[in-house]
């Protein structure tokens, strides 16, 4: 029992360290302590609005659960300057009604939202961002230009 507990504790520390290490790469100016960055969730929905604002961009997504109940989720990303300069985003990269799939670190509170990790468009293209696997290439690849 003690061995198991100890192993669990070590695993938790390791996971937290690795995840925080990745997270530090992505988010530099705020702590993002409200997000549980040891977890990943995925959501499909339609873009309600791209909030192209400082200090950070928010993507608002309307989604329905299996019963048909609708919920709006808020997902936080980086600064417009970073997304535009390094990852090719513009204020028009997402339009209301666009169908997207979002991978995110959920809010610890359980409220609908999280830290944006990865965003995939209906045609399979990924919008690159600091936390995604898509590489930053100068201004960024074409998927950000719509």
């Amino acid at each position: 029992m003690p061995r198991c507990t100890c192993t669990d504790a070590i695993q938790r520390v390791l996971v937290a360290t690795i995840v925080l290490s990745l997270a530090d790469r992505a988010w530099a100016h705020h702590s993002y302590s409200m997000f549980d960055r040891t977890r990943r969730e995925t959501l499909q929905g339609t873009v309600r609005v791209l909030e192209w604002t400082n200090p950070h961009v928010w993507v608002w997504v309307d989604a329905q659960d299996e019963t048909g109940k609708g919920t709006t989720y808020g997902f936080e990303s980086s600064a417009p300057g970073e997304l535009a300069r390094f990852f090719g985003w513009t204020k028009n990269s997402l339009k209301p009604g666009d169908r997207i799939t979002v991978e995110y670190a959920p809010l610890r509170s359980g409220n609908p939202g999280g830290a944006l990790i990865r965003l995939t468009l209906a045609d399979g293209r990924e919008l690159p961002m600091p936390s995604s696997t898509a590489p930053a290439r100068g201004r960024g690849p074409e998927p950000g230009r719509r």
Binding site: R25, Y32, G81, A84
Partner: protein, 264 residues
């Protein structure tokens, strides 16, 4: 004196004047004041455009600076290492682990970060040359740094500010900037403050037409056990400037962001 002698003397004087003039010009380029008049600004290196550290380099640097085991991390004294640890614990735990130590970055409260952290991000900077002064326009927090190159010394009792008081001089094509009078509210890095005794020296020069290097030494006898040195290579960007202010700060309160729906 014959006409011939006069001619020789005149030639010698002209040659001497030219040599002295050239030597003076060289001396002026190698050390001492430059850019003191609008005409002299034309002889300064071309630092026009927007300068940015590539994102990958920025996040690698961030990890090295945040990792206390990295040789590139600042050697913090115990009180300031406690700030770093409290901030990290807050990230893991999701709340403030230490009462009275909020472990927050200035940016979370919409406050400017100040020097030296202002210059450590992947946001753009621009340089303006005017007589007796270099001005840095930083995207982050829309901050202005005024670097006086008119030969003045530091003020004996300058008010402490987020950007500090910057006095510069040119050594050839390198601008050397000495910054003091930095507020203890300014950050070494996010959530780790300076002490009010920080002293920063930056050496700024062009590596080539597209790359600008800034070598920084931060001294702080209260926050740091040893001078913290780091170098950053900036690329000349063609994308212009992006605003970076604290406008729609939904993260202001710890624990839960403001999820009020925006207007469509």
């Amino acid at each position: 004196m014959t006409t011939h002698q006069t001619h020789h003397t005149t030639t010698f004087l002209i040659a001497s004047w030219m040599l002295f003039g050239v030597a003076s010009a060289n001396a002026q380029q190698l050390s001492g004041p430059q850019g003191d008049t609008y005409a002299s600004i034309a002889r300064l290196p071309d630092w026009s455009g927007v300068w940015v550290v590539p994102f990958a380099a920025f996040r690698d640097e961030l990890q090295r600076h945040r990792n206390p085991n990295s040789p590139d991390a600042p050697l913090l004294t115990s009180d300031y290492a406690a700030m770093r640890d409290a901030y990290r614990n807050r990230q893991i735990a999701g709340g403030d682990p230490v009462k009275g130590n909020p472990a927050r970055q200035n940016g979370e409260a919409c406050l400017p970060t100040g020097m030296p952290n202002l210059m450590r991000y992947a946001f753009g900077i621009e340089f303006l040359f005017t007589p007796g002064r270099v001005t840095v326009l930083a995207e982050l927090d829309s901050t202005i740094r005024r670097i006086y190159t008119d030969g003045r010394p530091h003020a004996p009792d300058a008010d402490a500010t987020y950007t500090g008081e910057s006095i510069g001089h040119w050594e050839g094509d390198t601008l050397v900037v000495d910054t003091t009078a930095i507020s203890p509210k300014a950050e070494l890095m996010g959530a780790i403050k300076t002490s009010g005794k920080a002293h920063i020296v930056e050496r700024i020069h062009l590596e080539d037409k597209q790359h600008l290097q800034i070598d920084t030494v931060v001294e702080d006898p209260i926050a740091l056990k040893a001078p913290w040195r780091y170098s950053r290579i900036y690329e000349r960007s063609t994308l212009g400037v992006f605003e970076k202010v604290c406008d729609n700060n939904r993260d202001a309160d710890d624990g839960e962001p403001d999820l009020t729906l925006p207007d469509r």
